[in-house]
């Protein structure tokens, strides 16, 4: 029943994203209209893919650090991405892909640094060190970003922040293709790690005794989840909240086993973000809201409702 509802939500969300918009497209022209074909469809798909990637990444990271507050952006990624984006604009890097690529490189750089910190002194990705390292690296990157912004005399830098706050205004078939080519590998790695991740929930030592290669598992999960998030940053900026809430919603609805958690988190994240983006571009038309605001406004009450039901029962 819950799976049927989820499937219906996926279809309804994508249909709404294609049908609704500030431009008036007659129903008959829906498939021929460049507005639908070049704008609404790639935008809906991109929002869905990014939402899915963030949801899955959130499940992976929360399992890895065994902390319900973990968010894909917590481990320094948003700070690194911000630094990359500001560098691209401050130093006038050429090319249409300079900004997203630089944001991606920044996010991966921050991730590599936190990863290295997590391995220091044979610590083997201790959750506490990962969280602290993530916050520290993020703060360091943010400090350099702020220094660049205050020293470089470019009014354009303000726009780097607008971009970073996230959204799908720049969605195109190219960005959809980037996600479609890039996302499957980390997704497959994570889904393959579903069973050992269930064991990890018991604690590192028990998981080890039950046959999970904890060292390898943690490294793979960390790298896959972070690379997924970095790709999401490159095509859509930093969209918070989805990666934090979606894993919790899915755990409340479908239980704690990762082989159901990963696919349901992908679809739920996709639905949440695609629906939020449709609202963002229609409710205050002709203007547009930053999508992160809508995910929070829609997601938090929903989450509170689920939490209440869960704690009551």
């Amino acid at each position: 029943m819950r799976y049927v509802l989820l499937a219906a939500a996926v279809l309804a969300t994508l249909a709404a994203a294609l049908l609704l918009g500030p431009a008036n497209v007659p129903f008959g022209d829906l498939l021929a209209s460049p507005i639908v074909w070049q704008l609404r469809l790639p935008r809906a798909l991109l929002a869905f893919l990014v939402g899915g990637a963030l949801g899955v990444s959130g499940v992976g990271l929360q399992a890895l650090v065994r902390n319900p507050l973990a968010d894909p952006f917590l481990l320094g990624l948003s700070g690194g991405a911000g630094l990359g984006a500001v560098v691209a604009i401050a130093f006038h890097l050429p090319g249409p892909w300079a900004l997203p690529l630089a944001a991606f490189v920044g996010a991966v750089g921050a991730m590599a640094l936190v990863y290295r910190l997590g391995l220091m002194g044979g610590a083997e990705l201790d959750p506490r060190i990962l969280l602290l390292g993530g916050v520290a690296v993020g703060a360091f990157a943010a400090a350099i970003t702020t220094a660049l912004v205050s020293l470089a005399e470019a009014a354009e830098l303000r726009n780097a922040f607008l971009w970073l706050w996230g959204g799908f205004s720049g969605a195109s078939w190219t960005t959809v293709l980037v996600m479609l080519v890039y996302a499957p590998l980390p997704l497959v790695v994570l889904v393959a790690a579903a069973r050992p991740l269930d064991l990890l929930a018991l604690g590192e030592e028990p998981a080890q005794y039950l046959g999970a290669d904890v060292r390898r598992l943690k490294r793979l999960v960390y790298l896959s989840a972070s690379l997924l998030t970095a790709a999401a940053v490159a095509v859509a900026g930093v969209i918070g909240f989805v990666g934090l809430i979606v894993p919790h919603v899915c755990r409340l609805l479908w239980g704690r086993l990762h082989h159901t958690l990963f696919p349901t988190a992908f679809l739920t994240g996709g639905v949440l973000l695609a629906a939020a983006d449709t609202l963002a571009r229609t409710v205050v038309a002709p203007r547009e809201l930053p999508v992160g605001i809508v995910t929070a406004l829609v997601g938090v009450p929903l989450f509170a409702f689920l939490l209440r039901r869960w704690t009551v029962s």
Partner: protein
């Protein structure tokens, strides 16, 4: 008795003077100057300001236009017009102003744009005994009042009044019937456009071009590409400081080509120095925009 009265009289005067100094105010003597700025403060000067720091390009341009350019002892890095302004020492980008750099120019008047950080900076300067004025300057109709008051503060009232009359008459003109439409695109990702309640919206109306986002109340707003496509402007206007501007990079992307004006490369490039800020050359900007629209393909 008389001596006592004299002494108390003197003491009272002294007390008044001390109190006045403590408040950091100069008591206007004879033909003192007094204007009220846009935060409602009454600013008085004993004599026309001789050493002025201007912290907004528009103020710098107005001061030169009314013949008070030689009073400038400080400007921002953005103040690049008229060319003589570049000879004035810069005190930084002015966002927010470096109070120390401004004070080091030993000004007797600092002219600031009214914004949160600038109000704080003005308070700090006042505490150092430096007079400040804060003016709004976002719209065409704010040019005249700013020019008049700058004229009074510098003793160039006649030139300032005639400039103010020109811009006031521009501001009171009814919009010219529009034959063409345009959208001012400030940024592409996310797309930011100029709405009503802005200088550019007004310039476009006076140049006979309808801003397709005139219904958006705020000076600028984030919109979607789809909305721009649906509004279907004849032109996309872009501020550009380049001497030989090229179509923006996004122009060749498929998602932007849904917008007719982008697909047909109907871009109008507006020099930022003339269009990026309200200034005494508003009439020139309107003529220039008209000419560019007529010359466009």
């Amino acid at each position: 008795m008389r001596r006592w009265a004299q002494r108390t009289h003197l003491a009272a005067l002294l007390a008044l003077a001390v109190a006045a100094c403590a408040r950091g105010e100069h008591v206007p003597v004879g033909g003192g100057i007094a204007v009220t700025d846009d935060v409602g403060r009454r600013v008085t000067l004993a004599a026309p300001a001789r050493r002025i720091v201007s912290l907004l390009p528009s103020f710098t341009e107005i001061l030169f236009a009314i013949g008070a350019g030689d009073r400038l002892v400080g400007r921002t890095t953005w103040c690049d017009y008229p060319p003589e302004a570049l000879a004035v020492p810069s005190v930084g980008d002015g966002m927010p102003p470096s109070v120390e750099a401004v004070a080091a120019r030993r000004p007797d008047l600092v002219v600031l744009y009214r914004s949160g950080p600038n109000v704080t900076a003005a308070e700090q300067l006042e505490r150092l005994g430096i007079r400040t004025v804060l003016f709004d300057l976002n719209l065409l109709e704010q040019l005249g009042p700013a020019a008049r008051r700058l004229g009074a503060l510098t003793g160039h009232s006649r030139a300032a009044d005639s400039l103010a009359r020109v811009v006031d008459s521009l501001a009171s003109l009814p919009p010219v019937p529009s034959t063409q439409s345009l959208a001012f695109l400030v940024w592409d990702n996310p797309p930011i456009v100029i709405g009503a309640g802005s200088y550019l919206d007004r310039l476009a109306a006076l140049a006979g071009a309808r801003n397709v986002f005139h219904d958006v109340g705020s000076p600028s707003a984030q919109v979607s590409i789809e909305t721009i496509a649906a509004r279907d402007p004849d032109f996309v206007a872009v501020l550009s400081d380049s001497a030989s501007p090229e179509p923006p990079r996004y122009a060749s992307r498929p998602e932007w080509r849904v917008v007719r004006a982008v697909r047909e490369r109907r871009f109008v490039f507006l020099p930022g120095q003339l269009f990026g800020r309200p200034g005494p050359r508003a009439a020139e900007a309107i003529r220039d925009l008209r000419r560019r629209l007529e010359a466009a393909p």
